[in-house]
Amino acid sequence: MLKELELPIVDLPKETENLREEVRSFLSAELHNESFTTRSDSWLSGFSADFSRKLGERGWLGMTWPKKYGGHERTAFERFVVTEELLAAGAPVAAHWFADRQTGPLLLNYGTEYQRQTLLPRIVRGELFFAIGLSEPNSGSDLASISTRAKKSGNKWVINGSKIWSSGAHHAHYIVVLLRTATHGEKKHEGLSQMIVDLSAPGVTVRPIYLMTGEHHFNEVIFEDVEISEGMIVGEVGGGWKQSMAELAYERSGPERFLSTYPLLKELINQLSETSGQHANIKIGKLASRLWTLRCMSLGVAGLLEKGDSPNIAASLVKDLGTQFEKDVIDVARELIPSRPSMNAPTKFETLLAESILHAPGFTLRGGTTEILRSIIARGIGV
């Protein structure tokens, strides 16, 4: 097999079994208390600061980070188990999502000691939320063409420009912004840097972008002469592109790339029964096979990451296949149970179906479109 495509079989260590049981009973208690409602795509749409704090209390945020920053020094596999259980239950994990998945690891890799000490412990407690500022109105997939810029002025940087699709920026405390600190040379991705901006700072405007569902998750974040101190630069000035790309394998291979519609699949199976017949059996059997395969792949990537590898190609495959699967679930649900989906339908099946249908366009766009991923994969296997 091509080296880029080789994935190990990961048998989860024994200690994860207890952890999984803990998470399951926590979730079942929370559901019982109606502290949350199961949603599809909950890592985008399930915002609950309360719930995030509860996870923090249980030690399920910043799980792999060093203890000196409040982390729990557990393995990537333990984090995997917690994540997949939360997503499968459709739990509201949006509040802490980017801080836990992206900002923490970024700061651990490139942040200053001061940044780590002041920010990480609060993330771990589920008190501090981050948004991500990458795309811009005129640069969707062409990320290197961004034009938001920061200019040095004394020992400050002054930021102007705007970021789009920043989910949760209206709730978050900070945003990590990729921006231009120098005009680019030959290569468009030169001269980019990452900075942390306080979303309550003067000059920052968070403008809602409503989805076609009417929901408000996304925002445009506009920066007008926003001043930040040098201490808020992450890593090297000019190193922003490399730093951003390093996050990708983590970002593209996690269970959130194939579980966004799992709550719908679960409810579909609840509604079906052993008398549903051959057609339902075949459809459900095929979905189960794909789900299992994707999880094997996702765990395989996690295994390589844990070893220190950067399996970017395999991670891109997980996202490509995973997001197709998320859409397949919808088609099968529609096909097997005639229904009248709407966001305020009387049945759980119909609301989950509506939510899934209306969120689905985003699955194959966010975090790298299908087309971009496939180009990356093709390049990775040598064409």
Binding site: L5, W292, L321, R374
Partner: protein, 353 residues
């Protein structure tokens, strides 16, 4: 992965490269059994992988056997390696003597009827089996069947005693009809089949096809990438066209998914002996076979479906193997019905356990 696996993979790959050439495969399809290839494998112990050393095998476990079959599938080896390994496993479980040379086994289909009958001082076996792999090319066939009292019996017969009508699969591999005309069998060649019931053989058979298919898929990926880099159209390699790139990425995805699914199924079966992971893996490789053969032939253009090009050695095998020991739809139906008989929690624990 066992200790011997890296060595095994190297040795098998080397033998295949030397003895399983395009010409050998073509000749096999014309009826010429590749004796040199078989002997090279037999000499190095490859045909007894997974059989304990103390009863004449060379050791190794199910994972070793399956990694060997992956290589066999990758090289489209026209030999009954899967059947021989399975047959020897059955013989070893039944404490019957390990036989030499290539072997086959029957029944090969779910609806084949084989019955054993006690005679005065021996046994007799009769029945008919369809689509038996390589029957014409082996000396002995391991046979399962039931007595009229419903006892399951395992034994083996010489093909000299069988009536064989030749048939083949889409890849030109022998799939023969075998008539057992009340063949007499000595008592010492009869064993009760308590360890390994029919279903288990069916599961292991499906595992062999999953491994073979994962190997064939790998080969197709390599062939297609090579072709896309070499073949020029409109002044540049076709792999440089975005429409082709997108398809190659899909192909790579399905091949990767199939490889890990095949491996994971073996690992799970060895640990638990359930058939759910086998079902999921056979579904995955079956679905992959459709997408991958379609893309590979599309990228290869007309050249790819000519006799001259090796691509069809792998694609025709996939089209055959996808239906053997249960197609993806048959397995999906079984798996789906198991899921729907239980609760929705069932899927999630199936996936996460």
């Amino acid at each position: 992965m066992s200790d011997i696996q890296p060595m095994l993979v190297d040795t098998a790959t080397k033998i295949m490269k030397d003895f399983c050439t395009k010409e050998v495969i073509n000749k096999a399809e014309e009826g010429e059994f590749p004796h040199d290839l078989w002997e090279a494998l037999e000499e190095t112990g490859m045909t007894s992988i997974g059989i304990p050393e103390d009863i004449g095998g060379v050791g190794g476990d199910l994972e070793d056997a399956m990694s060997l079959l992956k290589i066999s599938g990758k090289f489209a080896a026209p030999i009954p390696l899967a059947e021989t390994l399975l047959a020897k496993l059955i013989l070893s479980f039944a404490r019957l003597p390990l036989l030499n040379g290539p072997l086959s086994l029957l029944p090969a289909q779910n609806n084949d009827q084989i019955s054993f009958r006690k005679t005065d001082d021996a046994w007799a076996v009769s029945g008919k089996a369809q689509y038996v792999p390589w029957a014409r090319d082996v000396k002995n066939i391991v046979v399962f069947g039931a007595t009229s009292a419903g006892q399951m019996i395992v034994s083996y017969v010489s093909t000299d005693d069988c009536q064989i009508t030749q048939g083949q699969n889409l890849a030109g591999e022998p799939r023969d009809e075998v008539m057992l005309p009340d063949i007499l069998i000595d008592n010492d060649r009869i064993a009760p089949s308590h360890n390994l019931m029919g279903e288990d053989i069916w599961n292991r058979g499906a595992l062999t096809r999953t491994a073979l298919m994962a190997g064939a898929l790998e080969n197709i990926l390599e062939l297609t990438l090579t072709y896309a880099k070499e073949r020029e159209q409109f002044g540049r390699p076709i792999g440089k066209f975005q429409a082709v790139k997108q398809q190659l990425a899909v192909l790579a995805g399905e091949v990767t998914a199939s490889g890990i699914a095949a491996d994971a199924a073996v690992s799970a079966y060895e640990q638990g002996g359930q058939n759910q992971e086998i079902a999921m893996a056979k579904i995955q490789v079956g679905e992959a076979a459709k997408a991958v053969t379609n893309i590979a032939h599309q990228v290869h253009g007309a050249m790819g479906f000519t006799d001259e090009h090796p691509l069809h050695h792998s694609t025709r095998r996939l089209w055959s193997w996808q239906d053997e020991y249960g197609s993806e739809s048959e397995w999906a139906e079984l798996l789906g019905s198991e899921i729907l008989e239980n609760s929705s929690e069932q899927v999630w624990s199936m996936v996460t356990d």
